[in-house]
């Protein structure tokens, strides 16, 4: 409870810091929203020409892509402090030492050390695309879907957060941020924006057995959109998302702890 109240206080401090730059904040939100909107629009126009990809119509892909965009933006907001691009220079400048010297959980302090509000622009854009997808695909709502949607979104946020944490932890060894980490995080998220069935088998296998992202987005989308499974996975595959997310997040935290211990024994 105490730790959580500290977390909220730190977040509030971040909010107040950001509102020092109000004009630039709104401009940022606006630009981000427009830029990512334009990106999706160009994709949508392209898809118009072809009608569908691998049996997925525009509305259905919008559902998939909008959800990924929204949860990634929210994750990026919540886990800003663990963004490897931010974390690595932070360690180099010795800011982690200061965090070590405060009597509050290191993880909580990091989560409260940065809140990039302009990510809201991207979240907004994701939400618009998601809503468009829901309507355009003519999705049929059931009670199960209503209940599962928020669970799925939270799972996706934690799953992607695990990637951020793991990516930051790696920089304890490499000192500099590693481009390969970004390929996995941003590339993985990009992959999740499209139906996994369109990728070659080896990529699909990677995202099934190594980084099981296929359970985070593709299978749940099949469930929400009532689409048949061309890959013949068990019927519970769409509902594995929370478990996969929990395991990945737990592993990431273990790795993070290990990284902190390494940091303590080698210094930066």
């Amino acid at each position: 409870m105490y730790t959580f109240s500290i977390y909220l206080r730190l977040l509030r401090a971040q909010l107040r810091s950001q509102f020092q730059y109000r004009a630039s904040f709104w401009l940022d939100v606006f630009t981000t929203a427009v830029f990512s909107g334009v990106y999706f629009l160009s994709f949508a126009l392209l898809l118009e020409r072809f009608g569908q990809i691998d049996g997925w119509r525009l509305g259905e892909i919008a559902f998939l892509a909008g959800m990924t965009e929204l949860t990634f933006a929210l994750m990026d907001l919540i886990f800003s402090g663990f963004d490897p691009d931010f974390f690595a220079p932070n360690v180099q400048m010795g800011r982690l030492d200061q965090i070590f010297l405060r009597p509050v959980s290191i993880t909580v302090q990091l989560l409260g050390s940065r809140l990039v509000l302009r990510r809201l622009g991207r979240a907004l854009e994701g939400l618009v695309i998601l809503l468009f997808g829901i309507f355009a695909s003519g999705m049929h709502w059931t009670l199960a879907k209503v209940l599962y949607l928020p669970i799925l979104m939270v799972s996706q946020i934690f799953c992607m957060g695990a990637l951020f944490i793991a990516g930051s932890t790696i920089t304890f060894w490499t000192v500099q941020r590693v481009e390969a980490v970004n390929i996995v995080t941003y590339g993985g998220v990009e992959m999740m924006s499209y139906p996994m069935s369109i990728y070659p088998a080896w990529i699909r296998r990677f995202f099934t057995y190594v980084l099981p992202f296929i359970f985070m987005n593709y299978y749940p989308a099949l469930f929400f959109l009532d689409k048949p499974d061309p890959l013949n996975m068990p019927a519970f595959a769409p509902f594995l998302a929370p478990f996969v997310a929990a395991i990945l997040f737990w592993l990431a935290l273990r790795f993070w702890r290990f990284g902190l211990n390494h940091y303590q024994s080698t210094g930066s």
Binding site: S17, Q18, Y21, L101, P103, G267
Partner: protein, 346 residues
């Protein structure tokens, strides 16, 4: 009176593995795939202990192992070997409980929230350290007066001058009444007035609150002003641990006596001293006060010339300390009875 030392360090060592950088050619390419390491002993067999309430200057040239020691004392680094107990804790274990006892100011780092008013950072610190309200208010009031924080306490940290920021940081580090305070270059880059204000504040914290303070600094004026005990480190080993005055007594270089005679004459050579240098109308005699007291010198001079004016110059502490580094002068003087380095030196 025997008290339990607040810091006890015995045979502390920290070794780092540093990759060997190959400069050119094939070796550089190979090192990309297979790195060779060499071991650097950043801290090597360091032992000392501190009583509660001591204010110690921790000195040494760059790379001597000062900050490695401080990192081990604060729990940021785990030692390679040796014993380390601080305030009853093993610093790198029970991190959260341990660091609540510490206050730290690193002269070149900002710990306050950059875009927020100073007072907001203090409120956050109050929450993080769970400082009781009355204690917090009392401390804040005292520090506001002593450090003259009122002129900028409502301003965002990013708008403060270096001196103001240092004062703000000092307050932040001490709001929770830490038992142990680490000050790393607290006066770096400040002007004379700002330095003085910070020294006064450190002295206050030491005397009024009985905090144990470890001060690392390159400004030896800080040390002369504040510390009675100094620990001097070089290449990971303790060169000296003891009273500053004894250090000066033993290792101070030659003093200079500058006189101007009332009437011109040939430079007078005194027995036992090198011939004087001439600087305008001054004659400069270099002497060792341990062998030739000033009074004796003056007596000799007076019997030959009429001294119109005189000055005695002591070498600055910088020179004395530099001499110790350069010549690796003593290893131990054993003047500090509680120092394991002095007592148990094998």
């Amino acid at each position: 009176m025997m008290t339990e030392p607040i810091i006890r360090v015995a045979n502390l060592a920290k070794l780092f593995k540093v990759p060997i950088r190959e400069k050119r050619g094939l070796a550089a390419v190979r090192s990309f795939f297979y790195r060779r390491f060499r071991t650097v002993r950043a801290v090597d067999d360091v032992s000392f202990s501190l009583e509660p309430g001591e204010l110690v200057g921790y000195l040494g040239p760059n790379g001597a192992g000062k900050s490695t020691t401080i990192k081990m004392l604060t729990g940021l680094l785990v030692p390679t070997s040796g014993q380390l107990t601080v305030a009853g804790f093993t610093p790198w274990k029970q991190r959260s409980a341990y660091v609540a006892n510490l206050g730290a100011v690193f002269g070149q780092r900002v710990t306050l929230w950059w875009d927020l008013p100073v007072i907001d950072s203090y409120e956050l610190i109050r929450a993080m350290y769970r400082i009781p309200a009355d204690r917090y208010n009392q401390n804040l009031k005292t520090f506001r007066d002593l450090l003259e924080l009122d002129e900028f306490i409502q301003s965002p940290v990013r708008s403060l001058s270096l001196g103001q920021r240092m004062r703000a940081e000092l307050c932040a580090a001490l709001l929770h009444d830490p038992r142990l305070v680490f000050l790393d270059e607290p006066t770096i880059g400040l002007d004379v007035v700002a330095k003085e204000r910070i020294r006064q504040f450190i002295q206050h914290i030491h005397r009024q609150r009985g905090a144990t303070i470890i001060l690392t600094t390159h400004d030896l004026a800080d040390v002369e002003r504040l510390c009675s005990r100094v620990i001097i480190l070089d290449v990971g080993r303790i060169l000296y641990d003891g009273e500053l005055s004894r250090l000066v007594q033993r290792f101070e270089g030659a003093h200079e006596l500058r006189i101007s005679a009332a009437e011109d004459g040939p430079a007078l050579v005194l027995p036992g001293l090198p011939p004087p240098r001439r600087d305008g109308r001054f004659l400069i005699y270099s002497f060792d006060p341990r062998q030739t007291p000033v009074a004796a010198l003056l007596q000799q001079l007076n019997s030959h010339v009429t001294v119109a004016d005189l000055e005695v110059h002591r070498p600055p502490l910088e020179d004395t300390i530099r001499r110790i580094y350069e010549q690796r002068l003593l290893l131990d003087d054993g003047s500090h009875p509680d120092s394991p380095a002095g007592v148990e030196k094998r």
